[in-house]
């Protein structure tokens, strides 16, 4: 199924990050995507005034794995060790609507035609919502890169945007995944090691404490928010069934009760649409916000660990220098090695400080935007509900 997203939709969706895509020299978006069975094919569209690119406007098809490849290569680039690498977009997850579709197929026999149609519509809407969400997170990833002064100039990034052949990274991916697995293992061992390191800089000490704590809290909040919005969706689904059953009741009713049942059925049909929107808006503005920043904080944590590792390297190089001096052997190499470590560490500290500070600002702004929008939407939907309910009560009372 092809989904084309118009500008209005995209404006609404661009919820999580802010201040992206303002620099006209490099504008990226994902205007449409195709869903083929399990694979989603994104169309990445670039408009640029930069001479580094071959053409001023490019469109290429990309798959999720290509995005992961790009992310991983950036993470592995030494030069970017002092930067917060934007978190990789999560894999497109159609599990929930797929499960629902399965249930719908099973329950088809027991449902009325209307009920089935309505549930199918609801299912299609949910599918579309998941689809939009995954397009959005992939888009935001690219836009984070394009708005970063250093990362936007990355060679692999350019290849990703330009290369009009299939990025056959599958083989590489397999190796990468293995490598990734090992790296993660080592990193967790490092985490333990590094948390114990004595920090020389107050700023980083505070950041470390803050980020570690905040990360665990936001991870928890994300999970709880997800559960909450999912139950909300269940309620919207119940409304559909109530509406359909009321319809069935009214169809057979020969008494004055019929009109009441009809009106109520109508009301529930309208209420469920509102409820569905409440659930999906809550998901987008709250759950997705929390989820995104959870991953972003993980990326910030990664920066801290890289820096801490550089510190360990530096300290080790100091020890090695001392040993060399003691043994009076290989002193110049040791000295040079020590200098390199120091430089690297200083560079990481400097850029790390900048990154973390701007990250703070970015986070606060994003939270503000999303919380305001969520509150406004809750009010809007509730007012809608009020109008619907009042209307129905009027009708019933005047009957």
């Amino acid at each position: 199924m092809t989904a084309t997203l118009d500008d209005r939709d995209k404006e609404k969706m661009r919820s999580v990050s802010v201040d992206l895509n303002h620099d006209a020299s490099l504008l990226i978006d994902i205007p449409d995507a195709l869903c083929e069975r399990d694979k989603v094919k994104f169309t990445v569209h670039t408009k640029t005034t930069l001479t580094a690119f071959q053409k001023p406007e490019i469109s290429v098809p990309r798959q999720h794995e290509d995005f992961i490849w790009l992310h991983d290569t950036l993470v592995e680039t030494e030069d970017y060790a002092g930067l917060i690498i934007p978190p990789a977009p999560p894999k497109p997850d159609f599990e929930s609507p797929r499960e629902k579709m399965h249930k719908l197929g099973e329950g088809e026999a027991t449902m009325t035609k209307e009920e089935y149609t309505k549930m199918k519509q609801e299912l299609e809407a949910e599918y579309l919502a998941v689809f939009k969400k995954t397009v959005q997170v992939h888009e935001v990833f690219l836009q984070r890169l394009s708005s970063h002064p250093i990362l936007s100039k990355d060679r692999n990034f350019q290849i990703f945007l330009e290369y009009d052949q299939d990025l056959s990274v599958r083989r590489k991916n397999a190796k990468e995944m293995f490598g990734g697995f090992f790296k993660n293992m080592v990193k967790s061992a490092d985490e333990v090691l590094i948390s114990g390191i004595k920090e020389v800089d107050d700023f980083f000490e505070q950041e470390k404490t803050f980020l570690l704590d905040y990360y665990s809290k936001i991870k928890d909040s994300t999970a709880k928010a997800e559960k909450m919005t999912r139950t909300h969706k269940n309620i919207a689904d119940d409304y559909i069934q109530i509406s359909a059953t009321l319809n069935g009741l009214s169809a057979e009713d020969t008494t004055a009760n019929r009109k009441h049942m009809e009106k109520l059925s109508d009301l529930f049909e309208k209420l469920r649409k509102v409820e569905g929107r409440v659930a999906s808006d809550q998901e987008l503005k709250l759950t997705e916000l929390l989820r995104y920043y959870m991953r972003d904080i993980q990326a910030a944590k990664d920066l801290l660990y890289r820096r801490a590792r550089a510190l360990v390297d530096y300290e080790n190089s100091n020890k090695a220098l001392d040993k060399a001096r003691l043994k009076s052997k290989d002193i110049p190499q040791a000295e040079e090695h020590q200098q390199q470590c120091l430089q690297k560490f200083d560079k990481l500290s400097e850029s790390g400080k900048k990154e973390l500070t701007s990250f703070k600002g970015r986070r606060v702004v994003a939270f503000r935007k999303n919380l305001v929008e969520m509150a406004e939407l809750e009010i809007k939907h509730a007012k809608n509900n009020v109008a619907l309910l009042q209307g129905c009560i009027e009708l019933l009372k005047n009957n």
Partner: protein, 513 residues
């Protein structure tokens, strides 16, 4: 004003019988009623419920059709209209009592009723019912645990407020326990005179629920159980007193008024099976009947089909609403958990304004949890429970149709017995055995009377069922409309409060810098 007794009333049976007699008449024998009151004069001395009945003779016939609806007719009746009605009924009921108690004597004093009730009088009855105002309010409140351990029970206060003169006071209350309510139903359901009536059903027994309560009434599930039961008992009583015949039933009056009620012992019969199971068992017995009834009027068949369909649909609806209640409760729990998590996050946040906003968000979500809790309660008590009530009531309606079938069956069986007796007589005639012949003739007379009796019973039940179904449908429409409006209003309130909460939060969110 009527003078003293111009005729001697027949000896009065005990108070209790009067109730049945009342309902006999009210079943719609308006023709017979008219016969009585036009031909006989009033006998105020017969007046049984207390007021001195002064009866302007002229009013009698106008009351007759109104009688069948219940106690009040038009508002401009004079002060003693109630007494009049009771008196009238008493008068005729006593006659009826005599005739029904000795089935061997043919009911020759009454003109035979037509088998099918002309629809005009049915419509008339419907119209009369519209003018009814039942001035009885009942409430069931204050559940209190009495006693300890496994012998403990819960006593409820049953309060009545009424202006009906048949009660001793205008407002009064008694304490009743659950088995008393079941006992009342048991008494009403076996009354011949109420056959064909849709008798409201009390809530089912619940061993699990009650055991928890016996052990301790404090935990939330026990509290919910007791509240659920209290509400159900209240609805039950409200339906009973809204029924034109039942409100006059002495057992009902006793239930509402009497200080100490003898403990109902035969509620055991209802323990295992539950009401619907009972009704369904009876239905099955009817369905197994080999002789199929030849309905001249398809109304009964059609209506029964309608009732069965509706019952099915209501079950479906109830199941979905139940699911809604559960999801709402789940949402409640998830929201509470999320609120706590958000509060923790707010504490961790180092930006002051954002930290405050997140804490505020946590508070809003806490309030939302309460909203969801109240909404779930609404979903349950106003929507789900009422649906459950009507599912059971429709079962009771089906039960009435079955009663009619059984009455028909009894009539048919009597007819075939009569036929056999006639054959015996014929044989005896041919064999010329005069002594046995006499007996045979007596038996034939006996069975002829039975046939006639059963035929009228059948017709009467049919009339009752028809009337009851119409009354029930009206009540149901009104009741459901009220409940729906109540439910929607609770949802409306909930949404309005939601708006307030988020509107209070919005400036906090905007203040983030």
């Amino acid at each position: 004003m009527a003078s003293g007794t111009s005729r001697n009333p027949p000896p009065f049976p005990t108070n209790d019988e009067t109730g049945e007699g009342l309902s006999n008449l009210a079943d719609g024998d308006s023709d017979e009623g008219e016969d009585i009151f036009v031909s006989n004069s009033m006998s105020p001395g017969v007046c049984q419920p207390v007021r001195g009945g002064e009866l302007p003779a002229g009013d009698a016939s106008s009351h007759t059709s109104a009688q069948s609806n219940g106690v009040h007719s038009d508002e401009d009746n004079d002060l003693f209209s109630d007494a009049q009605l009771s008196t009238d009924k008493s008068g005729s009921s006593s006659q009826k009592e005599l005739s029904s108690s000795s089935s061997s004597r043919p009911i020759s004093s009454f003109s035979p009723r037509p088998a099918a009730m002309p629809t005009t009088s049915l419509e008339q009855l419907e119209e009369e019912e519209d003018k009814d105002t039942f001035d009885v309010d009942v409430a069931v409140t204050n559940p209190e645990k009495v006693g300890d351990g496994m012998n403990a029970y819960v006593a409820y206060r049953v309060s009545t407020r009424t202006s009906l003169p048949m009660f001793k006071n205008r407002t009064f209350s008694v304490r009743r326990r659950f088995s008393d309510f079941l006992g009342l139903y048991e008494k009403l359901s076996v009354k011949q005179s109420l056959h064909g009536c849709i008798i409201p059903l009390p809530p089912e027994k619940s061993v699990v629920g009650m055991t928890k309560v016996k052990v301790g009434m404090d935990d939330p599930s026990s509290v919910e159980f007791v509240e659920r039961r209290r509400a159900a008992l209240e609805r039950y009583l409200q339906r009973v007193v809204a029924h034109p015949l039942l409100i006059q039933d002495p057992d009902v009056r006793e239930f509402l008024e009497k200080e100490d009620l003898p403990r109902a012992s035969n509620t055991q019969a209802l323990s295992g099976a539950g009401f619907l199971k009972m009704i369904n068992k009876a239905s099955e017995a009817v369905n197994k009947m080999t002789i199929k009834m030849n309905e001249s009027d398809t109304w009964f068949e059609d209506k029964l089909q309608e009732v069965e369909n509706e019952e099915q649909q209501l079950r479906k609806l109830h199941a979905v609403v139940d699911s809604l209640v559960n999801h709402r409760k789940e949402l409640c729990g998830n929201t509470a958990v999320f609120a706590k998590s958000m509060a923790m996050l707010g504490n961790s946040e180092d930006n002051t304004a954002l930290s405050r906003a997140l804490s505020q968000l946590a508070e809003v979500e806490d309030k939302m949890e309460q909203l969801h809790q109240e909404q779930a309660s609404s979903d349950f008590f106003i929507f789900a429970e009422v649906l459950a009530d009507y599912i059971r009531l429709l079962g009771a309606v089906r039960g009435c149709f079955d009663q009619r079938m059984r009455a028909w069956q009894r009539w048919q069986e009597a007819q075939s017995s009569l036929q056999k007796k006639r054959e015996v007589e014929a044989k005896l005639l041919w064999a010329n055995k005069p002594d046995k012949l006499q007996q045979a003739k007596e038996e034939i007379t006996e069975w002829e009377a039975k046939v006639t009796q059963y035929e009228r019973d059948f017709d009467r039940i049919g009339m009752t069922v028809r009337k009851e179904v119409l009354r029930f449908e009206k009540e149901k429409t009104k009741d459901l409309k009220t409940q729906i409006i109540k439910y929607l209003e609770s949802m409306l309130q909930s949404q309005q409060r939601l708006i307030k909460f988020w509107e209070a939060f919005l400036p906090e969110a905007k203040a983030i810098a």
